[in-house]
């Protein structure tokens, strides 16, 4: 397709999404929940077709992709069943649309408050895992939005098979199937066209590696909700409980490595370094974690190698940990402000005043006291679902669930008031 034709085609998609979004926004919770349940059943009914489409996707790339990639791409009956259950779970979540809050009576008799409403049309750009098609599509529709999906080109057939289930789910609930649309080509130019559609798209959610996120950020003037990266810290304070400190510092690093909420840098108050670092060092070595330390850490831990300046801002996503001995709370917070990524940071302390300062002053989407950074997650937070984690500072910070897919408008109820 020529760029011009492509732009026109994507604009048609956007316009159709806008129109569908209006209908979905006005629809009842019952209708939207019916979409979730019908789609779940369609995924079950069509399991063979979806697995077949997925096999073609896998077949096409298996020569030049590694096992981890193929594993993320592959769908089988049990993964599809899990997706169906997830959609049924989304149906059970409370509906937020139309809820009013902050209602107050003004002296002139006006009642003024806020009402929760959908955002409108959401553009979702994601990589490999095709399950996102059903999850993100479901969350967008449940929250009253229309969505335009652009999954990884390697999973195009799988995404299409799953999107068709959602589209049929919409139709059977008498809602417009254009509420969920896939970009019609895996051509990268289609993403460029989507990112230019200020008029039809209200929010772009990119989900994937740092390179994808940066590319989207640099190419669009549409608001985006992005998760850049997670350089998470645990700070062991002078007043830390010894057992909690060890438990949390080990768990935050070793429970899983390739996740954004894993600790990448451990900060230890100098008054506790001699006592705690050797114990922690042994635990990390046992887990096969490489330690890159500041000079004082290296003095205390034979196995540590010296950290380079770049280490402090590195998201390892692997069994590597940078460790720094700091003077105390202020030093730790300065370090986090300088090198952190505003994702998730934790303090271990029994001192209430210092905990309070850390919670208030550390500018991250999640701040924790005496808990593992690994808890930064929509399900752990009780949001019921998660479309992503935002490291941005506006609209929604941290794990984003249904609420983050909505906004609030002002509502004013009068009986003929005019301004004088």
């Amino acid at each position: 397709m020529s760029t011009e034709n492509l732009d026109a085609r994507i604009a048609e998609l956007g316009q159709a999404a806008r129109a569908a979004g209006r209908v979905i926004a006005a629809s009842s919770a019952a209708a939207r929940n019916q979409v979730m349940r019908t789609t779940a059943n369609l995924i079950r009914e069509r399991v063979d077709t979806i697995v077949e489409a997925n096999s073609e996707d896998v077949e096409a790339v298996k020569e030049h992709r590694n096992d981890a990639f193929i594993d993320r791409l592959a769908l089988d009956e049990s993964r599809l069943e899990a997706l169906a259950v997830e959609l049924e779970h989304i149906a059970e979540l409370p509906d937020l649309l139309g809820r009013t809050s902050d209602m107050r009576d003004q002296p002139n008799g006006l009642k003024i408050g806020r009402m929760r409403v959908p955002i409108g049309v959401i553009g979702m750009i994601y990589e490999a895992r095709p399950g996102v098609t059903a999850e993100a599509g479901g969350l967008c529709v449940k929250s009253g939005n229309a969505v335009i999906l652009r999954g990884g080109s390697e999973s195009y057939r799988s995404n299409q098979a799953l999107a068709e289930c959602l589209q049929e789910g919409l139709r059977r609930a008498s809602l417009p199937s254009e509420g969920v649309q896939l970009l019609p080509t895996t051509d990268r130019a289609a993403i460029d066209a989507l990112l230019k559609m200020d008029e039809w798209v209200d929010l772009i959610i990119p989900r994937g590696g740092t390179e994808l996120i940066k590319r989207v950020h640099d190419q669009t003037h549409i608001p985006i909700l992005k998760h850049l990266h997670g350089v998470c810290h645990v700070y062991i304070d002078d007043a830390a409980d010894r057992d909690q400190a060890i438990r949390i510092a080990v768990n935050a690093k070793t429970q899983r490595y390739g996740v954004c909420n894993a600790m990448e840098t451990l900060l230890v108050a100098e008054s506790r370094a001699e006592e705690l670092l050797p114990v922690l060092g042994d635990a990390y070595v046992e887990h096969g974690v490489e330690i890159r330390g500041c000079p004082r850490t290296c003095k205390l831990l034979e196995k540590a190698v010296p950290a380079a300046e770049d280490d402090w801002s590195e998201e390892y996503l692997s069994p590597i940990l940078s460790v720094r001995v700091v003077a105390g709370l202020d030093d730790a917070m300065d370090h986090i402000a300088k090198y952190g990524s505003h994702h998730t940071d934790a303090i271990v302390t029994t001192d209430e005043e210092r905990a309070k300062r850390f919670m208030r002053e550390v500018d991250s989407s999640s701040v924790m006291v005496n808990a593992s950074t690994r808890f930064a997650d929509g399900f752990e937070y009780g949001l019921g679902a998660e479309i992503g984690i935002s490291t941005d500072k506006l609209h929604a910070r941290g794990p984003v669930g249904l609420e983050g897919l909505t906004s609030q408008k002002f509502v004013v109820y009068g009986d003929g008031q005019i301004r004088v």
Copy 2:
């Protein structure tokens, strides 16, 4: 200054703002309120200096600017006193920082909730009226942010004199004066440099004409909170109370013309057109309002001229009104969806079901039933202050007060929980 030198200079400003923002974010409400009160007193003490700086600004442009422009630019003792009072008023507003909400206990013993925090560094770009320097600067500091201000080049000396009061106010409260900075040159390239500072600026708020807003939008990848334009509607429903309909339709148009929340298009249900349009037409003619109508309106109103297609999306900001007869509620909502600007729209009706549909389905930052659109305003809404009105759909919609200058992060309180 060369572009390179300018970029480096603006980056220095940004870095200083970031550092100052951290200190202000952590400061007590008492300290931030002290800044407001001290600044108010400094404005009073320095009234002669400020008026003198302002006279130079006025002198420099009075040859080639009209009276309305000069009036917006000019400062005198009474306008400065009003600014001082406004800052004292901001000091009285409740502090939002550190407030937690939605706290809940998870089964694993974690307490999880949200805490209200500043956004960080705000870039404010505005035109003519120099009072904005003190108002916006005050609101940003009160809400814990640092701000970089770029006012109209015609008011540079006035802005500088007012910013110096805020900076001295910060110093006297032992807070860094870099919390409020002005771009150091009126060179447009300085705006370009500011708009590129993703690393140091978290939010851009442009305030001014459509051209300025569009330019900012097209040039930056930093999130922006913008007020584009207000094409506001009043829809008189079949079930409208006659007196309310007339009162509101006249007030929304004629109470003030050059404001964004004035009605620009009146929609009338066909069942009421014959009864109401002649009365309304007389009232508008009496106020000197020109009517541009649909064919049916023109049939009912001799004085109406035919509206062109462009009229329906025009923000007149003057005594011109477009009028359309519609079939009913759905037709009215379709018109608003097609031509409106998501600012403020009102329905006049006594029918609860139709009111409910209008409130829910019309996708504007403010929706009203039986009230004049002119009420869409931070002060009328009881926000206590207003830094602008947002026609965007994320973060904050409608009038933006202190809350819109803050965000929420997740806070997690544990006693040693780890993820298993």
